[in-house]
């Protein structure tokens, strides 16, 4: 397959997925009782009917639904995601303020779990059916079966009572609003437990995929050839197996981004970590629908984009996708 065709196909899928997300996100929140007018008047019932009607016209709510859809789409494209009901601030500003914290947590957690998962998976696949393999497998399956938020609670209790780590938030109260270069040790301290939870939760999955991928690669004929040339196991693994076995991980990282978002919601809720996940949970609790709508859009767009980037990277890594 030619790379250009491959990328065009993936781009088409990304745009299609995006379209589905946008349509669902718009219409889902339109069938709900209450509309943007409520955002402005809140629970103030003394606003007259005419004033409400005027607002309705102002918001374009008197127009047919599909016209509203395209109007909203235009606003979204300009970064205007409406006003949060509970915070009375533009949704886009609220989201941007939390994005960095979430990215920090997600990138740290993913990096640790990917590196450890690949190493462990390689080892477990190579030493198949030994104690190391069985142990790693048991660990992965147990962690897969463990609810993320519950693991977070356990680590929270253990870490705070035995190691004296902070129980939540991103910074200690006295350090809020200070410049980052002064408070980074405090930030790091707050990041330990959430990152640890993240790493443990996703480590098992990467390990399992890497292991089965290693098993598959090691059964290929070229491995037998390499071994027949007299290479040691370690040489075979490093020169022939590792690179090929890692290909599925690229796809998995991309596909996992959606689950990563779920992990972020649970972990940030448990550790009251000030990111998008916690924001999503708060919006849910307060039934702040514009905020939910905007947060879902941002999360979905990020995941779709990252997925597409991973597909492009994959096309360069996998020699089976040829360059023109």
């Amino acid at each position: 397959m030619e790379r250009r065709d491959y990328i065009i196909r993936k781009l088409f899928m990304a745009v299609l997925t995006l379209a589905v997300v946008v349509v669902v996100d718009f219409y889902l929140f339109r069938v709900l009782p209450g509309d943007p007018v409520r955002a402005v008047i809140g629970r103030n019932v003394r606003i007259s009917r005419e004033a409400q009607e005027n607002l309705r016209v102002q918001f374009g709510l008197d127009k047919p639904l599909h016209e509203q859809f395209f109007a909203t789409l235009g606003q979204w494209a300009q970064g205007n995601l409406g006003i949060s009901w509970s915070l009375r601030q533009p949704v886009s500003e609220v989201l941007l303020a939390k994005l960095l914290n979430s990215l920090l947590l997600v990138i740290l957690g993913q990096t640790f779990s990917i590196v450890l998962g690949i190493a462990l998976g390689l080892f477990a696949g190579w030493k198949r059916k030994t104690a190391v393999d069985v142990g790693a497998l048991a660990f992965s399956l147990t962690m897969w079966a463990t609810p993320t938020f519950w693991l977070g609670i356990i680590l929270l209790v253990a870490g705070s009572s035995w190691l004296g780590l902070p129980t939540g938030g991103t910074l200690s109260p006295q350090n809020i609003n200070k410049p980052l270069w002064e408070v980074w040790p405090d930030l790091a301290l707050h990041l330990i437990l959430p990152t640890l939870t993240f790493t443990i939760v996703y480590l098992g999955e990467y390990m399992l995929i890497m292991r089965s991928s290693v098993l598959e690669v090691l059964s290929e004929d070229y491995i037998l050839t390499a071994k027949a040339k007299g290479m040691t196991h370690w040489q075979v693994l490093r020169r022939h197996a590792l690179k090929n076995a890692m290909l599925p991980i690229v796809t998995l990282v991309a596909l996992n981004l959606g689950f990563t978002v779920a992990g972020a919601i649970y972990i940030e809720t448990v550790f009251s970590y000030d990111g998008l996940g916690k924001l999503f949970q708060t919006a849910l609790e307060k039934q702040d629908f514009p905020l939910l709508q905007g947060a879902f859009l941002l999360l979905a767009v990020s995941v779709i984009t990252a997925n597409f980037i991973a597909d492009v990277v994959y096309s360069y890594l996998d020699p089976r996708v040829k360059a023109t």
Partner: protein, 327 residues
């Protein structure tokens, strides 16, 4: 008919012979069956109504009483028996997990069979749909779906909403698996022969395709159930469960939001979490083993054993030729 029965008995016997030697599989079955027993015999095992408040002589509730003091697993913030809640919670968690799992199994198998059997644009359409669903972040999507359906006040129980939403989102892996099986099945001779003697699509699917993929569907359902139980616990933890019928996830939500952690009441949040791990681990072990037996993959690879190729035992090349297909 009797010949069929004999055939079934023989293959079931073979299956059992493989299965009973498989320790992870047996462990999984044990974990799952004990949890099911807990749910079925809840009224007998609970010993007390979960909504009953345990009080002292003056009528004040025992709040956060530690285990064995006034109740086997202690009490919660309102003096309710945790053990009774745990036992009755098994019913909710398992019911939601199994029903959602069955729903997605049904959707996934149906779409997988249709896509695989008919091919063409049906296949393209369904596979593109699964591609799209795979990329959209699942938990946020479920959260906004559940929240909006509840907002509509249709009078549907929160548990039913949860079953519907989970069931409607987790069929993609089943659909892909069943599709790939059907793709190979429909090229087999018995299908070609059935078609040659004039069998219609409906007959071929019902009589030849479904019986062949059914075992795999069962194995996959067990895996989907574990996902559904975990997802349910997550949604319930975020407060989307039914507070009047608490599942294990709802219990952890109560514990978390009603300061069980700062009160050191570990008996409030540890047991429900362990119960979730217990059941979902049981399902994963059982499902993996069933799938392995029904759909065997590679048995050995080239770097097993000694570094020297001329080993004491025979070369592994014969076993290795059964390596699984490429990705």
């Amino acid at each position: 008919m009797s010949e069929r029965w004999l055939l079934f008995k023989r293959s079931a016997g073979e299956f059992w012979n493989t299965f009973r030697r498989n320790r992870p599989g047996l462990l999984g079955a044990f974990l799952l069956l004990t949890a099911l027993a807990l749910a079925v015999f809840a009224p007998v095992l609970a010993g007390r109504d979960p909504s009953e408040t345990i009080r002292d002589a003056d009528g004040r509730p025992f709040t956060f009483a530690s285990p064995a003091e006034h109740a086997p697993l202690g009490t919660d913030d309102a003096g309710h028996d945790i053990w009774a809640q745990l036992v009755y919670g098994a019913r909710i968690s398992l019911a939601v997990g199994f029903l959602a799992g069955f729903l997605s199994m049904f959707i996934g198998s149906l779409l997988g069979i249709l896509a695989g059997y008919f091919g063409g644009w049906t296949d393209t359409l369904l596979m593109r749909l699964t591609d799209i669903l795979l990329v959209i972040p699942d938990v946020p999507l479920m959260l906004i779906l559940v929240a909006s359906v509840r907002q509509l006040n249709l009078g549907i129980s929160p548990l039913v909403i949860m079953i519907g939403v989970i069931g409607l989102l987790y069929w993609t892996s089943t659909a892909r698996l069943i599709r790939s099986q059907v793709l190979t099945l429909k090229e087999r001779q018995f299908v070609a022969r059935a078609r040659a003697i004039g069998a219609g699509h409906g007959h071929i699917i019902l009589k030849h395709i479904i019986p062949q993929v059914l075992p795999l569907i069962v194995a996959n359902t067990v895996l989907i159930v574990s996902t559904a139980i975990l997802v349910e616990s997550g949604l319930a933890f975020l407060g989307l469960g039914d507070p009047t019928q608490p599942s294990w996830g709802t219990m952890i939500n109560f514990a978390f939001s009603r300061s069980a952690i700062s009160n050191g009441a570990w008996w409030f949040y540890l047991p429900p979490g362990l119960a979730i791990v217990w059941v979902s681990l049981g399902c994963v072990l059982l499902g993996n083993v069933l799938e392995e037996i029904l759909n065997p993959r590679l048995t050995a690879h080239h770097l097993e054993g000694d570094e020297k190729m001329v080993a004491r035992q025979e070369a592994p090349s014969a076993e290795a030729s059964s390596a699984s297909s490429h990705l």
